[in-house]
Structure formats: C-alpha cells, structure tokens
Amino acid sequence: MKIDKNTINKIARLSRIKLDDKESEDYIKDLNSILDWVEQLNEVNTENVEPLSNISSSILPKREDVSKDTNSSEEILENAPDKLEGFFAVPKVVE
C-alpha cells in the first residue's frame, strides 16, 4: 500500500484541504487503486525519451516589452470575500 494514513494527511496538508476521518479512509482506498493502476507505465521503456511538457508545435511569438497601467484594483477586488481600504483582507497572521 503506497498511501497510508500518514501519507494522506501529508498530501492533504500540502493541498490545504481539511479531511475528516471518513474522507481520509475513502481517499486512501481510491488513491491506492489509482496508483496501482498507473503502475503499468513501468512496463514502458522510456530510456532516452525526452519528457513532453508542451505539445504546441508553434514557436512562441515575441511581443513588444511595454508596460500597461490598467489601474484595475477596484475591478480585481470586486469579487473578494473580504476587503479593506483597497486590499484583500484575511484573518490575522501574526500572533
């Protein structure tokens, strides 16, 4: 078993997702079965194969390096769950 209680807690923590005990149990089962299934990739010989991260065959075009001042802070803050004097507001961080 690749994923145990400790591992799932660690991944959940890295993902910033709180899991209750029941969920942890379910995900341990799901993730192990998915990882067992993808294991079959080890049958494939990938020696000297370059990893493919971008399928786009076109060369990235260059553009003028000019700055734009759109002054859109009000727009950006429009959907914020909490804001204060032109800033996003979050719970207090410093103890």
Partner: protein
Amino acid sequence: MSKSSLKQTLQDLESKKISIRELNQDYLKRIKEKENLNVFIHFSEDNILKQIDNLEKDNSTKKLKGIPIAIKDLFCTKSMPTTAASKILQNFNPTYESFVTQKLLDEGSIFIGKTNLDEFAMGSATNTSFFGNTINPLSKENEPLAPGGSSGGSAAAVAADLCLGATGTDTGGSIRQPASFCGVVGIKPTYGLCSRWGIAAFASSLDQAGIFSHNVEDASILLQSIAGFDQRDSTSAKVDIPNYFENLDDDLNGKTVGIPKEYSIDGTPMEISQIWEDAIKVLEKKGVEVKNISLPHTKYALPTYYIIAPAEASSNLARYDGVKYGFRSDEIDSLDAMYENTRAQGFGREVKRRILIGTYVLSAGYYDAYYLKAQKVRKLIADDFNKAFKECDFIVTPTAPSAAFPLNEKQSDPIKMYLNDVFTVPASLAGLPGISIPFGKDKNNLPLGIQILGKHFDEQQVFNVALSLERSYE
C-alpha cells in the same frame, strides 16, 4: 419538429423570413419547457431580452447576429456569473470576458445561458456538478440517462434544440464523448487553435475550447468564429484560420484513412464495432484507401492522462484559496484554517480526489516515478501519431466505448469511470484535432458516435471527412 440548422437560420435572418426577436423567443419558449433537464446553471430571460434590444439597435452586419449560443460555464463572461459548476465559485462575477466568448459577442451572437458541466470539467457524466445532474434529452420517461461530460450541459442544449450551437472545452474527451452520448456534432480543435484566456483552467497542457452543433457545416462556421491567435495565452498558435465552411469538400477520393488496431478493445459492444466497420465501408466506397495502422502505446494513454491531468489540476486549483474571489469558509481561526476549510467545503469529492493525487505525484520523491515518467510516455504516444500520419491523412475510430448510460448507474470505482475516455484521451495527449459525429444507433435506439482525428491544424480535413460520413448517413 425538425431542428433548424445555423446555416439555414442565417439565411432566414438575412432574407427577413424571421426576425432576431422571433427566433430567440422560439428558443426561450423551448428552454422554459425543458427546464427539467437542468441544462443551465445560469439562465436569465431578462438578460436575453436585453441582448435582443441591443442588437435591434445595431445596424452593422455581423456574421452571427442574433444567433442563440449556449456557453459552458467554464468560460468567464462579464454579463453572467461563472461557476465552473463548483461551490467555490458560486458567487463569482468575472470582470473580464474570455477570448472565445468575446469573439462570439463581436460577431453578434446572443448568449442564452451558461451550461452545466462536471465540477471544473472533471468527470464524464456531468454528475459531479455542484448544481446537480444534467439529464440527457434523449432519455425515455423514468429512465434518465447521463449526457456524458464534462461538457454535458452544452451537448444537451444542442440535442434538445435550446440553441444553435454551444461552446465546450475538451481536456481528455469532454466535448467528443458528450457529443456522442447526445447525438450531436462536437469538435475539439488542435491544442492552441483557440485561446485559453478566460477559461477556468483544469489541465493547461491539454485544455482546449471547441464547439457543439447540430451538424458538421454549422460546426465549421462556429469553429472559425472562436479560433485565432491571442498573446494572452502563451500556447496560442499563430496560424492562419481558413474559412472552414467555404472550403468544405466531401470528395475524399484518393485519401487514406488509418484504422488503429489498438482501438479494438475487448468488451467493446458489438454495435460499436459495427458502426466503426460501417464507417470504414462508406469511406472505401468514396475512394478512400483503408490502411491498418498501429498506435502501440494506446493502452498507456489513460494512466498517463490520469497522472498528468491531476498534476496540472492540483497546481491550477491552488488559486482557489478564499482570498481573492469565490467562496470563503466561516471557520477562519487562522490563515491556514481559512485555506483548509475553504477548500474542504468549496470543492466536491472528485475535484478533491484529483487535487490529492496530483499533489502526490508532484511531491518530493515521487515526481520522477510518476509525473516525469508520464511525460515521457506522453512523448511516445505523440510520436505514435506522428508516425501514423506519415501513412494516412486521417484516422477513424469510435468516440466512446458505450452509448449514454443511466444517470443513476453507480460509479463508485473511479477507474471504471475514467475508461469512458479510452478512445478520446490519446489524441488529447498528442494535441490533435478530433470531431465526433452521430453515426448509427444501438439496440435501444441511442446514438453512437464516430471520431475522426487529423494532423495538427488540419481541421479542414477533419471537417471534410465528417461531412462526407454525415451525408452518407442522412
């Protein structure tokens, strides 16, 4: 009532046989009659009437003026909320317009609503939506069927004749599979043909916008409208967009079709093998040479996809943290508690599953074994296609391994659900254009789909083959 095509409607509007208002009121009426299908996450009659008012005052000529189009609720729209079918974006009102929807607005189309999908496009049945299932319009009474997914709402909107076309996105089959389930045409173009700007990201190296329509001609008109270069998407391609519709040509004489032997999978229903054979016979009659080809790494496409897509998703979805937009939990004793509770309460089960698996395969000590390995196998899969296309002009396969399945069919095993994408995922990994067209029915009279794959940016060839098969079937 027989469904009116986009092409015919454009002619009727041009000759003033029908007005924009009359046309859209007809669709409005049908949308209200079909409310039970749960096609739309957002629908507002007032908003539609306002769009009609504005277009009536506008004297300019526009290619899609007055045409009712449904938009998958993954595209940011200024005039309507955008949720990605997730609780975490429940109250999100974009302050900007996606590239694709802006193009459709510039051409004068009317947005009739935002369609339902699997949460963040993660699913194959439109059953992971926070806003409930969409019902396939082809369902019989008391036997609701799934519309496929993730773009199930858009496919259903076209199938139920609630619009003349719809946008979708396809990461591993999310346009082609629901098109097959709902008996409509669905095209995923080449990766990079349509800008991803303003589309809520799932797996950025795979996501691509596309079109649902009643027929191939309509798809060719609409795809041209949404394609094009955009400097705000670094993978957007700078290629000339042909006039697909004007260039349509169903004469396939002298072309070569590739039939990949690896797509004959044990357990595929007889009827699906049968329509595949029928399609090949039709092509042969039209003077197409049939060539058996091999795509040897096909069986590894699904496990490759289910490493790469969740890995990219776990990174893309990190932005939903309850700070900048969207839902924030009430349990916010500390900053970490705010993040963890917001994401625990805001995301659904399938999305969390994929974030967790993606985080795992990217985490220290596992990156090489999973993510890097998958990227290497992805290269081999793409190379398979490159080799195959030296021998053939296009490839024909079934779209999905089944017809639409019952909505309530319990899919507790995630791997079984992932198998829905077995025929669509390889081309996604290779970034190739693919279309699904209705071609034949199963024993329950449900539509089945044929998939046509082409070379990069050879959408014209894909459309031509699709048109030829469509005409032979009608």
